[in-house]
Symmetry: C2
Subunit: 758 residues, 2 copies
């Protein structure tokens, strides 16, 4: 592959110094002298109408500046999920509503001089509720005669199906038909930084919103929509973000904060507690997935059927869009000529499920890779061999519209993992030492590059070169901890020939940055990276074309690198960029500014591929699963910054281990209340829980991307959970089709299996 000067290097994060020293300002760090603090009164009931609400005592409390209810906000129904506009996501949300649909739905909000006063005021709000029937499971919500959460929608936020080929015919010809049903848990994003916002008015009376968000542009558009305002009246500024993972991908309570600011005229800060973050923001859907696959005797998949019902909670949010992503994964990773898919997103009176890292694929993979393991075992074929036989090879047909593959390192990734984890050697090792059993498990994954063509998918980028050949890069895409800002600067430096240290970044302020829908779909390096490359390359061209006359050489002979104009023929430095750019501005007869704004929109969706393998030790006495080693190999195309990429790989893998082993948001089946809304009872892996993880990048050179790159942020979050589940199966012979594999669940499954044997 071609070598680059900046791309492919592990340059340090540009925010490293600021974050390490504490100089970095998060939204929570922002202070204003006259700032108010907001608190929200949440519904104690899973489904109710507000019969009467009286805020007069709360409003009279000294230090309280505003109390708002549904009567004080625009009653404009909207969807919080901004990017798929104008697609058919139900407009089922209000900023504050009289109709409460889960324990946590906001009833009222207070802005006061201190947090303490605001909390006291909440207790003075008098509410009479009229309780309504509540449903917490898919089956209850879809049962005949169930009350509708949202009028006219029959408790379905969405339903999709497609069929390719002749599924029934193929099933009839199959030598084997394997069937599985798998259930996945509700989990939460749990970023270290809670949801926090600071909203104030500028001197023109415009709303200035400091948000911890993944989607600044979308937040502005949605806020304007919900508030019935013009977008020009709203400015959204993204602070540093202490993790998003999909949970900060839509407005949640930020519109409430905006209303309080307009009501009081003062800056208002709204920081959710950890309890609110866990119980009242967004979750990853729980899903029940039924699969049926017909195979030939020699283990080739002929036909596959998948039925998925996901519990989307009280409001649609990203709900049914997640099912689209699942459909894509279902259709592509294991090319099968005959496919049928059916998916539903079901409203219930539990917390709202939305976008979460890998957008449905962790659920899908947990089911599918369990199912694949089942098939291999049933047919008596080695699990790796079975996957090699059925998974995608370059040139295989793609059974899904708007997806194409021109690079695929999947088979190399399987080889790499097999080698790195010592698969063949492990197969020969003793597996049991009496109290514990060891096993090895595998899972494959694939993932797209963007939302094309199902949502707005467009990134702008602007590069301005200063008089002295330093430059500024303007992007609308969102650094949320993953390292985008650094990667975008690398691309700008590579494409412009200006040293990275000479390029300053402006991101993200909707007042000064180009449009970009934001950080999701692992889209940014692919989509925004392209726009950055175009803008930077256009600036370089502008400078080189100006230099042609000054240097009396052909344009074709000129290039720029590291701050110099280079002679392509001799690789010699000819003149510094600075000397030329200063002339461009100060040329008294034909001066020109050096600035280019470009946008990019994909016209296809590529696939990233990979595999995770895990070795586990299961304590059969306690059910505790210990991951001894986890190996992941991924074809994310060319890696722009290896160190940052490895951070994504490790982080995604660890998060998936939490999904597979310990995390589950528990809902009280009586009240609908979240039972474990704290990080003691909701168990996110800590560093003490992290096993040895090895990561490998199988670098391909994707021709459709800026520098050969493909998606990277979400894919590592897909497979480890199910690789571990498969390893537990390998160790114990017991197939556990419901996650997470907590000690309790494993213990009970082993016990049940033993009882069945007896």
């Amino acid at each position: 592959m071609k070598k680059y000067n900046v791309v492919g290097k592990s340059v340090p994060r540009i925010d490293a110094w600021a974050k390490a020293t504490g100089a970095a300002k998060y939204v929570g760090d922002m202070q204003r002298p006259d700032m108010l603090h907001a608190k929200i009164l949440h519904s104690p009931l899973a489904h109710a109408w507000i019969r009467r609400i009286d805020v007069s005592r709360a409003a009279a409390l000294p230090g309280v500046r505003a109390v708002i209810t549904y009567m004080d906000v625009p009653q404009i129904p909207f969807t919080t999920c901004g990017h798929p506009y104008p697609f058919d996501t139900p407009k089922d949300s209000l900023i504050l509503s009289r109709h409460l649909r889960y324990v946590g739905d906001p009833v009222a909000a207070v802005a006061a001089d201190t947090q303490e006063i605001a909390l006291d005021a909440l207790e003075l709000i008098e509410v009479e509720y009229e309780e309504l029937p509540a449903y917490f499971t898919i089956d209850a919500a879809l049962a005949e005669g169930a009350v509708e959460l949202h009028e006219g929608l029959k408790n379905l936020a969405g339903e999709s199906e497609f069929e390719i080929g002749d599924v029934e015919g193929a099933m009839a010809q199959a030598d084997f038909i394997i069937e599985d049903t798998v259930e996945t848990p509700i989990v939460t994003h749990s970023p270290i930084e809670p949801h926090v916002s600071l909203v104030e008015l500028d001197e023109q009376g415009r709303l200035v919103c400091y948000f911890s968000t993944q989607v600044p542009s979308i937040m502005r558009e949605r806020l304007a929509y919900a508030l019935g305002m013009r977008m020009g009246q709203i400015r959204v500024v993204k602070g540093h973000v202490g993790g998003g993972f999909g949970g900060k991908q839509e407005p949640i309570f930020e519109p409430i904060n905006a209303v309080l600011t307009m009501k009081t005229g003062k800056p208002v800060r709204l920081e959710l507690t950890r309890e609110e973050c866990l119980a009242c923001t967004r979750t990853r859907h729980s899903a029940r997935i039924h699969m049926r696959t017909g195979l030939t005797r020699d283990g080739k998949m002929l036909a596959r059927i998948m039925d998925i019902d996901q519990n989307t909670g009280a409001y649609s949010s990203h709900g049914h869009n997640v099912v689209f992503a699942i459909a894509m994964a279902f259709a592509t990773l294991y090319p099968t000529p005959n496919l049928r898919f059916h998916g539903r997103s079901v409203y219930t009176n539990i917390p709202i499920a939305g976008a979460m890292r890998a957008y449905g694929c962790p659920q899908y993979a947990f089911a599918m890779e369990s199912h694949v393991e089942h098939m291999a075992r049933e047919l008596g074929i080695d699990s790796l061999e079975f996957r090699r036989k059925n998974s995608y090879h370059l040139g295989d047909p793609i059974n899904f519209p708007h997806v194409s593959v021109s690079t695929c390192g999947l088979q190399d990734a399987i080889d790499q993992c097999e080698e790195a984890i010592g698969y063949q050697a492990f197969l020969k090792e003793p597996r049991s030492d009496g109290t514990s059993k060891r096993g090895i498990g595998t899972a494959l994954f694939s993932y797209g590059q963007s939302c094309y063509p199902h949502s707005v998918e467009l990134s702008g980028a602007r590069v301005r070169v200063n008089e002295d050949a330093t430059a500024t890069l303007y992007i609308g895409c969102a650094e949320i901890g993953q390292g985008t800002d650094t990667v975008m600067l690398q691309i700008a430096a590579e494409a412009s020939g200006i040293p990275l240290a000479d390029i300053n970044l402006v991101a993200v302020d909707t007042d000064s940055c180009p449009f970009d829908p934001g950080a999701y779909a692992s889209r940014q390096t692919y989509v925004a990276g392209h726009a950055v490359k175009k803008a930077a390359a256009a600036c370089k061209e502008q400078i080189l074309r100006y230099a042609v006359n000054k240097l009396s050489v052909n344009y074709e002979r000129l290039d720029a690198a590291d701050g110099w104009i280079i002679d392509r023929d001799t690789d010699q430095r000819m003149v510094s960029l600075k000397e030329i750019t200063m002339q461009m501005y100060y040329d008294c007869h034909t001066p020109v500014t050096i600035c280019q704004e470009e946008s990019f929109a994909p016209t296809d969706n590529m696939l990233t591929f990979g595999v995770s393998m895990a070795i586990v030790k299961v304590d059969t006495a306690t059910g505790k699963v210990e991951v001894e080693k986890l190996v992941t190999a991924i074809d994310s195309g060319r890696i722009i910054n290896p160190q940052l990429a490895m951070g994504q790989l490790n982080g995604g893998n660890i998060m998936s281990l939490g999904y597979g082993l310990s995390e589950q948001l528990l809902i009280d089946p009586k009240s609908g209340r979240v039972l474990n809304d704290n990080l003691l009872d909701y168990k996110v892996p800590t560093f003490a829980d992290v096993p040895p993880i090895e990561g490998y990048f199988i670098e391909t050179d994707e021709p459709s991307s800026a520098y050969g790159n493909k998606s990277l942020g979400e894919p590592p979050n897909i497979a480890p959970a199910v690789a571990v589940r498969n390893a537990v199966l390998d160790a114990t012979g017991v197939a556990i089709n419901q996650g997470p594999l907590t000690p309790e669940r494993v213990y009970l499954a082993l016990k049940a299996a033993k009882e069945q044997e007896v």
Copy 2:
């Protein structure tokens, strides 16, 4: 003339609400919790070396955070005058120097927790000076054997001359030769808001500079140069500016503030006192101007000679560039086939003269229009008739490079003034009532549109249209109270078809705004206005071209106005802009951002023309001159915003009355110290001093500009002073060739004239 929707209307200033309510934040209003306060120790001597300086006692004072001297700053010689780079303005300045050249030159600076501590610390700095010979007048500085203020420059900051035609030949043929020498005073800008800056470091360690400045881009470039930094490391943000008038057109002590910030790591605020503003910032040059004109018997000018020496003070600043502007005015307003010009800018040990409203033309006009009056009287021709005969008529040749005239309302302006002030009637009125005498006086003026081609002359503008057809306009040109921001929005609204209320403005932050050298030369509406029009029109075109397919009509039939796409054939609204722009962003297959950045650079210099006439009453007992009426008519092309334009006319006229009647910075001829560094002794006109002023715009339609406009900000500041001087001559018969016409000077002149008679 064509009618427009927004251009030509007196829309309210966009900052009106914020300024009227006090919401508008000036730099002086900005506070930081850990902010330090800076104070400067100024030289007590007019010319000296620092033999020894000891800051240890000051540095040890509790609360003092930094003390700096010339030893702590880069010793990179630079010119504070940024825009004419790379022309030959002497690089004669340092941030802090060991060589002190006027009373007020900075010796050292302190940053401390409070202003009081900083002032106390100044007193603890021990300095031993070695005094050097000091010169306060042009003649003393140019005398044989005078010590050089700046090595090798012979006390000349610049010298220029040109000759057109055959001056000596023409003089030999002249029927009359009239000669005059006129002297003009030193005056100061005296904006209400003093010079103030707040400099802090951002989390990347970049310098963020909040300046009250007319030239944000130039400040960044000059600061980087003087500090030896890359421009990308510096961000300049302009606050609201409470008046500039040319005095905030270059770095003065801001680089000192930047050094203190880098030294302490904390935000540092530096606000000059009124005394410092008057004595240590910038002034308008005093000048001695000698003129000699040869005329035919019937009053036609054949040849003119002008010799000008201006006292530029201790450093060059804009010094000699002012002489260029004088040369242009000299050559163009009275077309004369034979011209000779010679100008010098002379270094002396007095405060630094720089740019001030109308950049040399008030000095020039005070001389030339006195001289013209002298000629008319000498030849016995009515003053208005004489001016009509000799001044510019459309089609007359232009004796100056890069100047051209395609519109000229000068003769109409003279007619308008003659009518409005009742010239013919006044000539018949009784002039004297015993103790007072009345007279009428006239002065013409002309002015360019920009600095083309003598300086950087380039403006960028960017327009971004949001998803909902609201928009943002980004400009680098500087609102300093004159109303530019409002005018630029009017132009953007007119050219884009988006309502003005839907366009938000981002200005001026060098991190987010396009390049623009700033507010001077009355250039902004002409130069930046053009860039704004181009960018806005390009956005409109982009939208209309997209709409062609949606509406199935030819592009030529479409236009946009007031938020709608209009059918040009029927003037009917077809579809809202919002409907189209939302589709442009959310089109899933070919989405596009709507954003255009354009720049404009003039390729010629047009002329604005006008005339002021004044009626005065002179109290012959006291010398007090009372202006009874002042009328100004100006051809500034088409007026974009009549109310704002009238504000410029009135403000400029009042400022010129101060120049003509009361303002003069007095320098102690012994010490070089400013004697009247306060607004009690330095007499700026107050509202009580303002006479009835009538203003008229003779609207022409300048084809080279965005909407027919020509320069407006400075021209009204040129003529009233000398119109009043000529009126005093008319009233009393006494020609006073030195300004200002204070009661003392008039009284003495009348007395001297009387004694001569006797």
